[in-house]
Amino acid sequence: MDVISDQNWLLSLGTFLPLAGVLVMLLIPKREELLHKQVALATALGTLGVGIYTLIQFDYGKAEQLQFYANTEWISVIKSGYTIGLDGISLPLYFLSMVITVLVMIYSWDHIPSPGNPKAFLILMLVLQTGMAGTFIAQDLILFFVFFEVVLLPMYFMIGVWGGEQRQYASLKFFLYTMFGSALMLVAFLALFYQTGRESFAIPYLIERGIEIPETTAVWIFAGMFIGFAVKVPMFPFHTWLPDAHTQAPTQGSVILAAILLKLGTYGFVRIAIPILPQAAVKWAPAIGVLAVIGIIYGSLGCLAQTDMKRLIAFSSVAHMGFVMLGISTLTATGINAALFGMVAHGLITGMLFFCAGSIKERYHTLEIKRLSGLLIQMPKLGWILGFCAMASLGLPGLAGFWGEFPAILAAYQPAPQLSEELFRVLMVIAAVGTVLAAAYLLWLYQRTAFGEPNPEFSNHGHAHAVGAAANDGHHDEIHDVTVFEWIAWTPLLIAIVVLGVYPQLMFKVMDPAVTQLVEVFNK
């Protein structure tokens, strides 16, 4: 594989810059809360600046090659190197992680969840950013594994300390599930290493040699990686940690989980599992496709049964990631392009939905759908934003969500030549039904919460809700519409949803060369 090694310091800078901010913040006393927010935001903005510079310097004509490629010795004992690079597949996600971190930092300016302590909260967020960005640039399996795991502890603490009522249960479940998945993933990585001549863990090297692995062995190795990544995605039946984690996590945690962390799993399939073991991918694709479609239907039905808005959005993630996995399982350029687009779109839209949910929770102290109504009257702007996101999430053409779902369904019509056409056409039909269900649960949610008259218990003047909520609502007594910080944090996401919806080519043209190269092996 050809690589471009110009400016090979750039990715390391973008990945590790947040840690510099962490070091500075460690030296500042805890009580200087404003200063902490400033330093954290400045670091995140600086990182985003590096990200924008990366976008500018990226050679879009050679998007299929690894750019800013660096390869230095790291752990010579196990022949693992510090190999990093960025191509059209990873660039959008790498950049997205930086954008989301900045927006979440802005949102945190006046939304530090209970029990406070912005120092620790923001430090964890910066560490998360390093882990996420690092996962997307790693071109060595051990490096990938390390970054993949760096994300684990900060998220565990973010859920467990700043989360909701059942935070301890949710965080432990998240931790154990992920730990179990990554243990199997590591075993699979080691097996790959041994099966390819014990030479290197570098992904480009393994892509060349992986094809030599006998098919039976490859199918087993793929199984290990499948479970590791599927837990993270999460795919049915490994999804049960997700509703709990999402519901209990603080708003910022939910946004990061939805926008980036879930993508680590799908990205793993596209970056590692499929290109290295195409022969096993062909064997596994039908199973992945079936599980993906089960996820779509199961997630949608789950949504219809939810009484909590955040939990509903969490289940909708299961459904949406089902579309992404369906796209991947077709092993075609269209399908994988759709999946990558779907990953970014889901990140933007579901991230936005979680922001809305967080803000509603902050104002009403509840997310119980039954108790919410008349958002459009009480907070017209927030109500419209919620409606906009619901439309985007159900895949309305013209908004970003559409380009993740529609091409994925389309791709299932004509999967890779090695796959059974009949099966995938059946899957296509079922997935299409899933979009109808998506419309149903989102519109139903919107109707119940936004339409109608506001619930009298939340009227601005009578303090009918004082019983349970007064204890912790402090100065948020009044139900107010979108605040300045919320506007700043949300506007970029809303714009991106529209822009990508109107002009999807913006991303497709970046990803397509790399994806085409990736699926070449299936067209022979």
Partner: protein
């Protein structure tokens, strides 16, 4: 009679001694005398001088270790890197372990100064014994002969028996000292019996001559097998491998916490060093005997240690059982040491694991000491809400526990990874099966480490007392050293791994 002695002395030619190579031991020996003498002449309220002096002695001994490492192997050998016919060798393997023991000793001194001062008795003696024990360990790293290994072992153990009983007005302290002493002596006896058998069948005490002499007549004799097993059992006591572990939790609980840290890290590491040296030098042809035996020891240690650790409510006992389980992981690579072509990764795995485990566990004990100063309790529940009133200690403990659990990017992950890779390199059914068992154990272990993390971060403060903890500066220094090493070794494990050069250790016998 005197005349005959003089006549004999006339034939005696002094061996050439390379003082540079022996400098770490010499500095320590001089330092021990110095601390002892200074202690006689200072006033009661100046007792802190002894601890400072002990710290400087250990750092002073580290200087020649560094210079020896810097001058490189060729110069070292020319100077006489193999002293006394190769019975005492200063090579890279010895140097990295000497450095480990000296640094571990230094951290223990830092952890002790406050604790022992508050106990108000026998400070001078405490540090003398501690330094003596470290000297034994430093000798162990170089010992390549049955006699020198045994001398080093006793040298490091006997002071440790006394240190374990340091809380002499406490019945648990007495129990600790007595138990440790009786079982330790018992283990020594078994070891010595095994060694005598080895000498009996091979006619030499030099390890590298014992190696080829075993199975010299083509097959294994019963005596040879018995000798190998006895030697391994003797060291299994020292490293508290199941089923020879019963002493460990009681001793760890009864001893002063810094000594617990010392025993669970340095003393244990010394046992592993001796075992590793024996395996590579004396038993290269005896792998049929020691491999299945060690396989059982490793598997039972990691499993039983973990299962018992899960049930502990006392943090020190939990760490004690966790250290038994970690010991199983250190033994794991040794179970395939005899397979063809894996010696290198086995040796590297053991060395990296020892170093990483040492810094991580010492750090965890330093936090325990700091927290116990406030809570006066060893219960895990006393860590509740630590993060809310002592965030630095909370984060540090999290780092150490996460490293012990093997979560990247902290040191522990690479230690575990290296151990896994070594047994997989062997490509045998024994290797694969132990890897699977170890993988399951990693997940079990995560459960009890996470329990403590949850206490620290998510539980309320048990007694509502949220006054900040005043951590003495010496413990702060210990924490900085251990935490720094834990993180750095996780990110750049090559720093240590490159010291495990197999050819350097085994010389001609290397396969």
């Amino acid at each position: 009679m005197i005349a005959s002695l003089v006549a004999a002395a006339g034939d005696f030619t002094a061996p050439t001694v390379d003082y540079h190579a022996l400098a770490p031991e010499i500095v320590l020996a001089v330092g021990i005398c110095l601390v002892l003498i200074v202690d006689l002449f200072i006033e009661e309220r100046q007792r802190w001088i002894t601890s400072t002096l002990a710290g400087f002695v250990l750092l002073g001994a580290l200087v020649p270790v560094v210079t020896l490492a810097v001058i490189g192997g060729d110069v070292r050998n020319a100077l006489g890197g193999e002293l006394l016919d190769g019975r005492y060798v200063v090579d890279e393997y010895a140097l990295i372990l000497k450095a480990l023991f000296l640094i571990a000793g230094y951290v223990v001194v830092l952890m002790s100064s406050d604790e022992i001062e508050s106990g108000k008795y026998h400070q001078g003696e405490y540090y003398v014994l501690l330094l003596s024990s470290v000297l034994g360990m430093v000798m162990m790293a170089s010992a390549r002969d049955l006699i020198s290994i045994f001398v080093a072992l006793e040298f490091l153990s006997i002071p440790a028996y006394m240190l374990a009983a340091w809380n002499k007005r406490n019945s648990k302290g007495n129990e600790a000292g007595m138990k440790y002493y009786l079982l330790g002596v018992f283990a020594s006896a078994i070891l010595l019996y095994g060694m005598s058998l080895l000498y009996g069948v091979t006619g030499t005490t030099l390890l590298k001559d014992i190696g080829p002499a075993i199975t010299a007549n083509g097959q294994f004799s019963g005596v040879e097998a018995l000798a190998v097993v006895f030697v391994v059992v003797g060291f299994a006591f020292k490293v508290s491998a199941v089923p020879f572990h019963q002493w460990a939790p009681d001793v760890y609980e009864g001893a002063p916490t810094p000594i617990t840290a010392f025993l669970s890290v340095a003393s244990k590491a010394a046992g592993f060093v001796a075992l590793t040296t024996m395996v590579f030098l004396a038993f290269p042809l005896a792998s049929d005997v020691y491999q299945p035996f060690m396989w059982v020891l490793a598997v039972t240690s990691m499993t039983v240690g973990n299962l018992l650790a899960l049930r502990q409510t006392n943090i020190v006992r939990m760490l004690a059982y966790s250290s038994i389980s970690q010991g199983g992981f250190i033994l794991m690579p040794l179970t395939v040491a005899g397979e063809k072509g894996v010696g290198e990764s086995v040796l590297k795995a053991v060395i990296v694991y020892l170093v990483v485990y040492a810094v991580t566990n010492l750090g965890a004990f330093a936090v325990v000491i700091a927290v116990a100063k406030k809570t006066r309790s060893g219960e895990i529940s006393s860590f509740g809400g630590l993060f809310s009133y002592a965030p630095a200690l909370g984060v540090l403990m999290t780092v150490f526990l996460a490293s012990l659990a093997g979560i990247p990017p902290l040191g522990g992950w690479f230690a575990k990874f290296g151990a896994f890779k070594a047994v997989l390199d062997a490509d045998t059914n024994w290797g694969y099966s132990i890897a699977v068992i170890a993988a399951l154990n990693t997940v079990i272990a995560a459960a009890y480490y996470v329990t403590v993390m949850r206490e620290i971060w998510m539980k309320p403060v048990p007694d509502g007392d949220v006054t900040p903890i005043r951590t003495p500066s010496s413990i702060q220094a210990a924490l900085v050293i251990t935490c720094g090493a834990t993180v750095v070794l996780g990110v750049l494990p090559d720093l240590v791994a490159r010291f495990g050069d197999l050819a350097d250790l085994t010389g001609a016998i290397g396969r």
